[in-house]
Symmetry: C2
Subunit: 333 residues, 2 copies
DNA sequence: GTGAAAGCGCTAACAA
DNA sequence: TTGTTAGCGCTTTCAC
């Protein structure tokens, strides 16, 4: 059978309280006693039962992580950042995919809270009112990673999507383009893409370029949809000469679409992406892209969560990580 | 404060046993009672404490998942398969990265067992003796996903790496190549790559082609190392005319290396990959590749684990999933 | 420095 | 059909 703290206590001729103390590194134990207990623990191969410990202490040292889809590189990268920091602070993570589906998100929140996680990191492109409400009722801290909470009620970590997008579009404008397309993920109606879109429009407007709704496409964000978008856009009477893509996959689809049509990138067509995953260097030409520091976003979010779980004072709940634009060859100069 | 089963019982004028019954869907409850209890649960927003439940029932409905690196698409894909099936059977997963590091693997095993997971899915390219031994001592079932256990002691799910690789190399041989290189990940010394290498050698030998160790390169499996491998190999006196790549990234690196040198793929250089991630279609020419069904491997592994946790009878502990070769344009005909 | 004992919130016999 | 009662394995006062 499994050996319990009680077995150890008996074998070591001490009380279970003492065993508990040595297991938990409590200093109030005579070195000799500690040694004796440690020996018995080793001999019996005693392994503390974290569930019992959790019940008694009301802490599980595990945090919940709700992400849209782990098989999507973006989220996987963030997940790795989260997990690394979690490990550093001795937490384990319960990971679950929501597919951006509100019902799943709600359910996951509930089951994770049921499992008594000490905190939650949540990635969701759309913090709906219902979700928001559920999150408010959480007995443990929740931090948003890569998702902005417009009510500013929840801790969150992000980059400045608007600013980054604005700058990206500006680069294209600076290169003389008048017909600039914006191709984004399905998220056209969600937060982050909303910022990108707003920035896109603002940048054009500020440069006195008229906004043409035909040049704005929102699909599912995949390579194929980038290819498709190229098809649609290049068939326009006045096709775009530059593209602001919402993701690397999209950008590559756009570029391949152009190349398959005999167009040169960046000589004839320029493309700037928003992501800078390792894919960015795996195309010819390599992508110029806003770098979205996913790993860092995850890591910082988790770090923030540890502080919150520790009830430390937080200066600022919403942290904005710096971004930069990596210049490669899909945009001239 | 948090509301417990006891609060619900009191409010509903029943015993906690009855509340427990309705929460657990036990049929031995009069409909009227059930209704009453359900109402109170709703009103009080009672949420069962899974930790207490776990302690009492000795089941946590969570499984551990140990993978090398979630930010690597291969493992992320498998993780998604694992999680989907886990969710289907109402399990949650504790996910952790091992970086293929034995110490971490050992530690993770230990902490997960400490957390009383009901089972574990493990992905490890090298089941070392120590690891093997720790796994044997596990009180809960462990299944290996995408990793073969040479002792055949643990349940595992895989494809036939040898057969798949053999066939891949044969395609190249069939196209008339005599100088065929094998470029693989760092895993040259680990199980799966070992099979690939063996198959490569066997295929050549069977075709009376001499094995040239210079044509065998094992590096870190990244795009850059593919590029590098091209550099080294193309500088040979008798450079290879065909490549068997251990992964898509590697294959793309090889192809770009060739193209940057003005070589045509597949006219002058042919490349076959082993993976078939979505990357495979995101290059020109698109990759011909052995398809490694990662999602399925994960899903089947998890399904197998549910059976094991359920103590169902398993016909065969080691399942071999069919593979196929997806023909695209990096190999002629 | 160490021990006794009361929970933590729930499940699972066993009775009734 | 429902209630009573032991635990599950540990943490945590509170005494000594």
């Amino acid at each position: 059978m499994t050996v319990t703290i009680y077995d150890v206590a008996r074998e070591a001729n001490v009380s279970m309280a003492t065993v508990s103390r040595v297991v938990n590194g409590n200093q109030n134990v005579k070195p000799a006693t500690r040694k004796k207990v440690l020996e018995v623990i080793e001999r019996l191969e005693y392994r503390p039962n974290a569930v019992a410990r959790g019940l008694a202490s009301k802490k599980t040292t595990t945090v919940g992580v709700i992400i849209p889809d782990i098989s999507n590189n973006i989220y996987a990268e963030a997940a790795r950042g989260i997990e690394d920091i979690a490990t550093m602070y001795r937490y384990n993570i319960i990971l679950a995919n929501s597919d951006q589906n509100e019902d799943k998100e709600l359910n996951l929140l509930d089951t994770m809270l049921g499992k008594q996680v000490d905190g939650i990191v949540m990635m969701s492109d759309a913090v709906t009112p219902k979700l928001h409400q559920s999150m408010e009722h959480s007995p443990v801290p929740i931090v948003l990673a890569g998702s902005v909470d417009e009510t500013n009620q929840f801790p969150s970590v992000n980059i400045d999507y608007f600013q980054a997008s604005y700058q990206a579009v500006q680069m294209l404008i600076g290169n003389g383009h008048k017909r600039i397309a914006f191709v984004s993920g399905p998220l056209a109606y969600t937060i982050n893409s909303k910022f990108k879109l707003e920035a896109y429009k603002k940048a054009l407007t500020d440069a006195n370029i008229e906004i043409d709704e035909q040049l704005i496409i929102a699909d599912d964000g995949t390579y194929d949809s980038g290819l498709e978008a190229w098809g649609v856009l290049s068939d326009l009477e006045q096709p775009p000469t530059a593209f602001f893509a919402g993701s690397d996959e999209l950008a590559i689809g756009l570029i391949h679409g152009a190349q398959d049509n005999g167009k040169n990138v960046p000589e004839e067509i320029e493309v700037i992406s928003f992501e800078d995953s390792k894919l960015a260097r795996m195309v010819r030409p390599q992508l110029t892209s806003v770098v979205l520091p996913l790993y860092d976003i995850g890591a910082v979010a988790m770090r923030l969560l540890t502080k919150l779980m520790n009830k430390e004072n937080i200066e600022d709940q919403t942290v904005v990580i710096p971004y930069r634009i990596e210049k490669r060859n899909s945009v001239k100069s």
